[in-house]
Amino acid sequence: MKILVCISVVPDTTTHIRFTDKMDALDTSGIQWIINPWDELALTRALEIREQPGSGVTQISVIHVGMKDTEPVIQKTLAVGADSACRINHAPADSLETASQIAEIVRKELFDLVMTGHDSADYNGSAVGEMLAELLGWASFSSISSLSVAGSVITLEREGDIRSETIIAKAPCVVTIQKGIAKDPRIPSLRGIMTARSKPLTVVEPVKCVPLTRFLRFENPAPRSQCRMVDASNVEELVNLLRNEANVL
């Protein structure tokens, strides 16, 4: 089985987000870029599956749509164990562009399983996985919290609000990954870091695709208001505050 893991490169989740003076783009100065945490979980699970005896996983590749400055982050995926990487040399404007570029590669390279994080920690679009499946005409399974492979049969679990679902899927398919699917993301070993350089990182020029989204303006959220503590026994005051200050009753 050949697995492809889609990787977004996002600001470190502890980053203080700022915008440019015109408020029309993210101010990228001083940002530390990381693998999108959900994508990193997908990669971790792919590596765990390959290590299981008889998994039949022959190749784990990663793919990313982005410019050259994202390569250090892609190198980390090779350092933790991905066999090869592909970077599509384009700064995508929206999820459709990302999905369209990846679909082009998947059609050519015949992967059996495509894994993505269910969300990305930058724009929180939650759309690439499903769009990719649609473009490929494959089945897609979203927010999966457990994934195992036996031959071409893929067993998935999804946690719902009132029950969990177990799904038997056949390759090829697209799976978007939720938390809980893998142990903690791996720390690359020094040997892994040194061998990452010798693994293939292919750069592919993008195909034509017109994005459907354009960012007009960003706005900072309103500052949080002060928290007021009310004594647990003082229900009267609580009701008074909710009614007369918060105006929610």
């Binding site: 250090p72 720390i187 690359p188 070993s189 870091i193």
Partner: protein, 380 residues
Amino acid sequence: MDFQLSEEQKMIQQAARDYANRELIQDVLERDANSIYPAKHVKALADLGFMGMMVNPKYDGGGMDTISYVLAMEELSKVDASVAVIVSVNNSLVCYGLEEFGTEDQKEKYLRPLARGEIIGAFLLSEPEAGSDATSQHTLAEDLGDYYLLNGTKNWITNGNSASVYIVMAQTHPELKHKGINSLIVDRNSPGITLGPHEDKMGMRSSDTHSVMFTDVKVPKENRLGPDGFGFKMAMKTLEGGRLGIAAQALGIASGAYERALKYSKERKAFGTEIFNHQSVAFKLAEMYTRIETGRLLCFHAAWLKDKGLPYGTASAMAKYHCAETAMWVTTEAVQIHGGYGYVREYHVERLMREAKLTQIYEGTSEIQKLIISRDIFSK
């Protein structure tokens, strides 16, 4: 001159940072309180390749440069200097000495498993009456033909109990003074070796420090490092690298305390504003940052000289002297910025302050570093 780290160096730095922030932080307070040896962390760091990170890959090491080593030591020490000193001793004092001065047979037998981190080593120089005055070795290695007969006591031995291999400095020809000292590879399980109790230390409490006593311990002749009488020179050459490891450790202790103090100063309010806005605190943080950056540059410079094969003894002495003094000052001020919270264990800075003190003492006191630096100045 290039002040930029390579992508590999950044990845190594991040790997050490991730391990420290994800794993070491979880049990560091408990290990400090109860002097618990960090066996699982040593194993994990070995698996990641940190225990022999500068050893040539042909002996199963990581093949990393010294800058990478400095980066890793700083990151580990920000969270747990006890674990960092175990890494430092194995890399700088044990693996380095074996790789640089060992025979091929010695490297095959000892360096390979040490570089893989399957076993760890210890470096035995200090004695009850030979600390800074390392030439006054009383431990005897009597030459009895096929073997040396080792008798004496070594003090303050990091990894004393956990090591499988000892590098022991001992006197064979007392009449030749320091030129009669030999450096011997000693199997920890050799008959005649006994350990003193675990030292109940002020800081670095989860590294295992012991006295080691040798009573008629037979050491095969082929376990001598270098020619007869080379031991003291070997020890001094090895300590040049050791000092750099401890300089980086002190740097990490300082920057760990600084980062905690900076974060606290942005959260804690006094007189109606975050304490960072009070000049008395802001200036203190500015001075911490400047001293730490100075130390970092001194470490990088010494590491760069070593990687280029240039003399780096004075540079590593300056790095160690400056970083140790900086660590002591920064951690003390970090406790001050935290006020009462800094004095309790939960906030970590008092532990870092206790750990900092040792960096002014071991692998050459600050006074010895100044001696090395001043001798170099006067010789020019």
